[in-house]
Symmetry: C2
Subunit: 399 residues, 2 copies
């Protein structure tokens, strides 16, 4: 028995986009769907009930963080990530690969994953030859240091899957090397070769365990900005019996849609595809249009904790002085808990007072906004009005 | 029409304690009741729905803080404190007197309000002659500096009441001078004289405004550790037409019950009495037994944010290593949301990870614990088993 079942119910004419239902051991996900990030087994500042009430269908936690604290064996002994964090719906964990490189190998070097992006993006180092030697990548795995206490750790594909088995999410990822778009084609090819060998080893280890019945394993397509490598990676991984596929960053912003299209035109159509670490409205439209079913990003909640809010008319900062006396909601058209009960003036007060409720209320709003935007894209595909919806949304948001 | 109506329904035999119902423009309060503190128009880390669900009947916000940020006129323009913060039940504001002295006049001097107490207590300076001169108290009011930006402000009784009218709580307090128990009897007498004159001016100003119909004004009994002064203060204020009475700190810990008894044996029986800033189980039993109906304290939530939890068997710290693998709730006998859904291991993980949800979940527990303890005292008085309940509770808690 396979742990996941994916059924496409509508395709976007002339493009790779589609809607569907992804069935997991802990419930169905209507796709495309935005995946809420709960890095350390908590969606920052929110209870699981809030996360559910704002419309989230699935939560992704980070293997690297949970391995370091509290430790994957404690999560296992608690009954798995779901029970540990009191989230009753579907869950995912990433492979730890991204964090091993960005937080472990070169933490604090302040280099961006996606170039030319705003400050809300995650940090990933430019892994030039020197830094990557420091990360101590060998054919078998990666030696890295904890960003918490500097202690040394070693991840192999088998170790990453073993940890993810302990964490027990419905969907897990093969261990990969996430490279920077600044890397040379030569380095990208070398890293991709490792990622492919590690993908096979992740799959073999996973299939040797009973967890293959209850946890779906996604392979991660890499290849940076190179059409050749991206296609090669999609071909290679697409031929392996994964339960789904991730498409790994890193892109130049303008490359993303192309790279996604290269991958998705090759990946098996009947498997779910997750674009990793994407949360800007324009990127999400591109990802959906080009055939991705799932995407996750910390941006909505991180932005919220810093006072930044999505509105239909673009981003605003609650720290702006004008909002101190603005007794209207963050977004008058929004149906979220925060917009129904609080004014910008109250949120401005909470942010100025450094009150924790500020981050809670604005996280609810931003997640609701992004999740419902993707929900609306899904409905728009089903109603044959996707391109009209997209044009109207983006014209107004980025005006 | 008076804004408040207080009905005593049961008295504690041989003592001043009683149960009753305090009706306010925004609902009834079963007394005795623990008042939840929402200093800056937010109970820290909680939504109003959480506060209501955990059993809170009434929220107290701080005049000093709201005057400085966002400003009382903004709260007025928002429709009052209730509407501003989305709390639908009864509200109180204090007079600002305590914070003017502890945060404004001598902020950061690290002196305790109640001597020989744990770190969770509020800071109040020892107002010796020199420091009190720095606070610039004159017969008309107090000049103080903002703890936020150092700007100068001047509070008079009229100003305090005007601010509290703008904030719009159901119950407000006369402007008083809160002294340290270290002060000389001479200084206490001088300060008490000011407090009395300010109480009359607060009352006169309040009665000159239509707000007297919708907001009840409490006078504050002071007098430090002196029986003579406490009784004098209760006599003086008890003869004035206040809607209720506050009993102001500061006490030596062992004096508190005596001081409360001195005051309550004199204050009019048919008016509600609020003991300010008290939240330890043993103190709450003493306050109820000696005739107080309301009490507020930041301790339950402050302690929670630092990882400290109340249990029937005393306090524990979730930072203790043993709890990392403890898959039982904080208190197995507790019916709160946190104890029903989360383990100590999960909370220990959240605290170690510095996740905001840690403070939220433990604040829910601690407030539920203290509020329900007071609820149980009320039921115990009604069922004639107060002293039995008290003995059992305290024996186990402080064992």
């Amino acid at each position: 028995m396979r742990p996941l079942n994916f059924k496409i119910d509508k395709k976007l004419e002339g493009k790779l986009g589609r809607t569907g239902v992804l069935s997991t051991p802990h419930g169905d996900i209507q796709t495309p769907a935005f995946v809420t990030v709960g890095t350390k087994a908590t969606v920052k500042a929110l209870t699981p009930e809030m996360v559910k009430d704002l419309g989230a269908q699935v939560v992704l936690a980070n293997t690297y963080h949970l391995y370091l604290e509290p430790g994957d064996e404690i999560v296992r002994d608690a009954g798995g990530i779901q029970k540990f964090m009191n989230w009753t719906g579907p869950t995912m964990t990433d492979s730890g690969g991204f964090q091993v490189f960005s937080l472990g190998a070169a933490y604090g070097k302040g280099l961006g994953k996606i170039l030319k992006r705003g400050e809300e993006e995650l940090a990933l180092p430019v892994l030039n030859e020197e830094i990557s030697r420091k990360a101590i990548i060998d054919p078998n795995g990666v030696m890295f240091r904890s960003h918490i206490d500097g202690s040394s750790h070693y991840f192999t594909p088998e170790k990453s899957i073993e940890i993810q088995h302990n964490l027990g999410a419905d969907m897990i990822f093969a261990f990969d090397e996430c490279t920077s778009p600044h890397e040379s084609e030569h380095y990208q090819a070398e890293a991709l070769d490792r990622t492919h060998r590690w993908a096979k080893r992740s799959l073999e280890y996973h299939h040797s365990k009973p967890n293959k019945e209850t946890q779906g394993l996604f392979g991660i397509v890499q290849g940076g900005r190179s059409e050749k490598l991206r296609k090669e990676s999609a071909e290679f991984l697409g031929a392996l019996p994964f339960d789904g596929y991730g498409i790994g960053g890193s892109f130049e912003k303008e490359d993303m849609n192309k790279a996604v299209e290269w991958c998705n035109s090759i990946l098996p159509e009947d498997k779910p595809r997750h674009l990793l670490g994407i949360g800007e409205p324009t990127d999400l439209f591109g990802a959906v249009e080009n055939g991705c079913d799932l995407f996750d990003c910390v941006a909505p909640t991180r932005m919220a904790r810093n006072g930044g809010a999505h509105t239909r008319d673009g981003k605003i900062s609650l720290m702006n002085a004008e909002f101190r006396t603005d007794f209207t909601p963050v977004d008058a058209e929004c149906g979220c808990y925060t917009c129904k009960h609080y004014t910008k003036a109250y949120l401005a007060h909470l942010f100025r007072s450094k009150e924790m409720l500020a981050g809670t209320l604005l996280s609810i709003h931003n997640l609701y906004f992004i999740i419902h935007m993707v929900d609306e894209m899904r409905e728009a595909i089903r109603n044959n009005i996707f391109f009209e919806y997209k044009e109207n949304f983006l014209k107004r948001y980025y005006k």
